[in-house]
């Protein structure tokens, strides 16, 4: 009997996951459902980051900055211009995606760590610019959105937001999977693993790298937009450098190169800081940094890597029978 | 008691075994050659001595067992390894490269004297003292590497394929210096070479390696006259 996780197994796992996502609010309080809405938001953000860092190998510490752009887009459009808040979601995504694409061009000159530096600088710069252009952004005081309300009578707004977020997450996950399984994904991975060989095969470095940036930014923009809607408030401190770091950490822990692994990553991002705070009230970040170091040392391929290893071990065991 | 003795030395690069049990010895004041085709394990043998490859077996130098010691501590015992490709630090000046030879020695005045003597052997290097080492020709870099090794005042000199990439005149000049060092100064030398003719003319003893083992050894005279050696390595 072959006890390995083949294609059927993977579809089964996906179906199980989908079932959990659909049924979860029934088992949880409204508050916990609200927390899991954030898991969905982070999931979207790091799936996008995974395309950039996991598949095309470009280290980005700026995903939080792109989230900020998406969040502010939604806020400004809905508060200052009366645009229906849910219509702003795709607008935020597209606008952020275009900015990401534009950022991709100068970023072409930079590889590896230099790119990480540039995105780190971007993260810091966006925060400062949000403070500075206060006519637009409300400066340090920030801007409030209308409190979220469920358009469906009888359904709590937390539950509504949860399903909205996860529905979008599911659609975007499918989109990412489709984009990555074809030639695009292969080209990205070729660029990541053997850039010189890939370019000599005619794969346009420029086109794919900037596209990868655009995709990551688009996803972050949507995540940021949803974030603004869910929290109903943004200010420059909502998306600090720490968030970009947390997003990258979540992606690494989930397992770069694995889309489903991002579920673990998103869970980590939402709940780890809370648990770390419970462990040690004054130094949650220290704990969280130590966990990161430990994981980097012991499981560099993250949760997804661990599952792969377990899967291989199962395969070997079942073959011996 | 030989100055250097290898007994049953094995070495691998990952899964590939390069040495299958080498035994050789070098007496103090001797110049010994290691011959063999590409891949025979000549370079690996020198690396085993200088500690830059992981080995099993025994290596004794001057009474010390050095087989699994870190490279820098072996070097401090008085072994100078001029590696394949010369190992010149191209971004540093010629002078700085020479200074590096003595940088871990404590006796500053003696180091200065040694630098002076080394440069006497290589006047062309002395001329180019301020140049960036990377701008030197292959032959000059080989001289520089040897000068640097001399400044460390080694008990044992390991030379790895010095003739590689050098013009014939540079090769003969280099080995002229090698002979002078051995015959006039009594320097103990272990030299790996593919150019069998010139190395057998500059040494007293030799080992021929094949596929990671010692296939043959004897005095350089004996090896020069040996049928097999003549056919494979001397071309006649």
């Amino acid at each position: 009997m072959n006890v390995s996780v083949g294609l059927v197994g993977r579809l089964g796992a996906l179906a199980a996951l989908a079932a959990v996502v659909v049924l979860l609010p029934a088992a949880l309080s409204n508050f916990h459902t609200y927390q899991f809405a954030f898991v969905g938001i982070y999931f979207i953000a790091i799936v996008g980051l995974n395309v950039l860092t996991g598949y095309s190998g470009q280290i980005s510490l700026g995903q939080g900055a792109f989230m900020a752009i998406g969040a502010y887009t939604t806020t400004i459009l809905s508060v200052d211009h009366g645009v229906g808040v849910y219509w702003t979601i795709p607008v935020a995504g597209i606008l952020t995606g275009l900015i990401g694409f534009a950022f991709g061009f100068p970023a072409l000159r930079l590889t590896g760590v230099y790119l990480a530096l540039a995105t780190f600088a971007l993260a810091i710069a966006v925060g400062l610019m949000a403070k500075s252009f206060d006519g637009l952004t409300g400066g340090g005081g920030g801007k409030s959105l209308h409190l979220p309300s469920s358009p469906i009578g009888g359904v709590a707004w937390q539950v509504w937001l949860y399903y909205l977020t996860w529905a979008i997450a599911a659609a975007l996950l499918a989109a990412a999977w489709l984009i990555l399984r074809g030639e695009f994904g292969r080209s990205l991975r070729a660029l990541r693993d053997a850039p010189i060989a890939a370019t000599s095969f005619g794969i346009s470095l420029a086109r794919f790298k900037t596209l990868a940036f655009a995709i990551a930014a688009f996803y972050a923009g949507i995540a940021g937009s949803l974030f603004a809607i869910t929290v109903a408030y943004v200010n420059p401190d909502t998306f600090p450098v720490a968030l970009s770091i947390l997003l990258l950490t979540g992606a690494v822990l989930g397992g770069l190169g694995s889309l489903l692994g991002m579920v673990f990553g998103a869970l980590f991002i939402e709940f780890a800081p809370l648990y770390a705070e419970k462990l040690n009230n004054s130094a949650p970040t220290v704990i969280y940094g130590l966990i990161l170091l430990a994981v980097l040392f012991l499981m560099p391929e993250g949760a997804a890597g661990l599952i792969k290893k377990a899967n291989r071990a199962l395969k070997r065991a079942s073959r011996r029978e | 008691m030989p100055l250097l003795e290898l007994t049953g030395v094995e070495a691998s690069y990952g899964p590939v075994k390069a040495l299958h049990g080498i035994s050789l010895s070098v007496d103090e004041g001797q110049a010994v050659a290691i011959l063999g085709a590409n891949g025979a394990g000549k370079t690996t043998t020198l690396r085993a001595v200088s500690g830059t490859v992981h080995t099993s077996g025994e290596i004794v130098f001057d009474g010390h067992r050095i087989a699994r010691r870190p490279a820098e501590s072996i070097a401090r015992l008085g072994i100078a390894h001029v590696p394949e490709g010369r190992g010149i630090l191209a971004e540093l000046s010629v002078r700085e490269n020479v200074l590096l030879g003595g940088v871990v020695r404590r006796d500053r005045k003696a180091v200065k004297a040694d630098i002076g003597r080394a440069l006497e052997y290589f006047p062309r290097i002395a001329e180019r003292a301020k140049q960036q080492a990377g701008t030197l020709s292959g032959g000059e870099q080989q001289m520089l590497a040897l000068a640097r090794a001399l400044v460390s005042r080694p008990r044992l000199l390991l030379l790895d394929e010095p003739s590689l990439g050098l013009a014939p005149t540079a090769v003969s000049e280099f080995f002229r210096v090698v002979r002078a060092l051995n015959q006039e100064e009594g320097m103990t030398i272990l030299v790996v070479e593919q150019n069998a003719k010139i190395v057998l003319a500059s040494t007293q003893y030799g080992y021929v390696l094949e596929v990671g083992e010692v296939a043959l050894h004897g005095t350089s005279e004996e090896l020069k006259g040996h049928e097999g050696v003549r056919a494979s390595y001397l071309g006649y």
């Binding site: 100068p106 600088a121 400062l128 720490a242 990258l248 170091l293 980097l296 | 830059t52 490279a71 940088v103």
Partner: protein, 294 residues
């Protein structure tokens, strides 16, 4: 005209703070090929140690300064040997993440040990002001310029003219060859990290009187220092220092004469300029192109 020179002096002072940290970044990059995202936080942590020495233990400023440098040296060496070296064979992304983890740990630890509240950190320089031909300069700025210039000079002298400097350079340029020469390469690289930590500490202690002391106060300095190092060429110590001064003076002049550029926009403008420079000269103003054999 006087205001021009005043802007220049302020720019050189800020530039000096960036230059010292940028020099640390370049040192580490040349020695171990790593871009250390935690470099600023190492300086921050050292500055907090100095704060404790000065304000909790009551030790005088310059003695605390020196003790802090010694502690920073040991700390930097420890970080290299205990945390960075175990990851030396891993991918670039992993190493970046390690330095980021270190950033997070140091930031959190500082907030934990000393509380995240703003603290006052004194300047060793008098509050007086000099006036030379109508140009008004603060002793603080002049002092910072002097200290950072001294650091750059000392580092230069160390590397060029001492035996240990030669060993450090050799270890960075050719670790395998250096081992064959008897150089204790691992120790040398550890010393390199220790020196870089010392420089970061100086940068932090010079910046703290200007920018109030909080656990995140060095993040912006780090960003400027990165910009300076990349501007000057990440492997060129001279370039990093020059880049930092150019950046400092440039921003000071720009924000002095262009009034729309308030304090918060200085960094984004600097980064914009940096991106422009990189598009034209990807290796920085003074960097060497890295030729890779394919």
């Amino acid at each position: 005209m006087a205001s021009f020179f005043q802007y220049v002096v302020v720019g050189l002072s800020n530039g000096g703070i960036y230059a010292t940290l940028a020099l640390a970044l370049v040192l580490i990059h040349r020695a171990t090929g790593i871009v250390n995202f935690a470099q600023g936080e190492m300086g921050m942590f050292a500055t907090y140690l100095a704060w404790s020495l000065i304000y909790t233990a009551g030790i005088t400023y310059w003695l605390s300064f020196s003790l802090t440098l010694a502690l920073a040296f040991l700390g930097g060496m420890f970080v290299y040997l205990a945390i960075i070296r175990p990851f030396s064979h891993r991918s670039e992304l992993t190493v970046v993440m390690v330095t980021i983890a270190l950033l997070v740990i140091l930031n959190g630890a500082a907030g934990w040990i000393w509380s995240p509240q703003q603290k006052f950190f004194e300047s060793p320089f008098p509050l007086s002001v000099l006036s030379v031909r109508g140009v008004v300069m603060s002793a603080q700025d002049l002092g910072v310029i002097a200290v950072s210039a001294a650091c750059a000079l000392i580092v230069w002298l160390l590397f060029r003219f001492t035996r240990i400097g030669l060993q450090l350079r050799a270890s960075a340029l050719g670790p395998a060859t250096s081992r064959l020469l008897g150089i204790r390469v691992t120790l040398m690289l550890g010393i390199g990290w220790g020196l870089a930590a010392m420089l970061s500490a100086v940068s932090g202690m010079m910046a703290a009187p200007v920018v109030v002391l909080t656990p995140s106060f060095m993040l912006i300095v780090l960003t400027y220092a990165f910009a300076a190092a990349v501007l000057g060429g990440i492997d060129s110590p001279f370039g990093a220092v020059a880049g930092a001064y150019i950046l400092g003076v440039g921003i000071s002049l720009l924000s002095g004469y262009v009034h729309q550029i308030g304090p918060e926009l200085q960094l984004p403008v600097a980064l914009g300029v940096l991106l422009l420079v990189l598009m034209v000269r990807p290796n920085g103003l003074f960097g060497h192109p890295i030729v890779r054999r394919v």
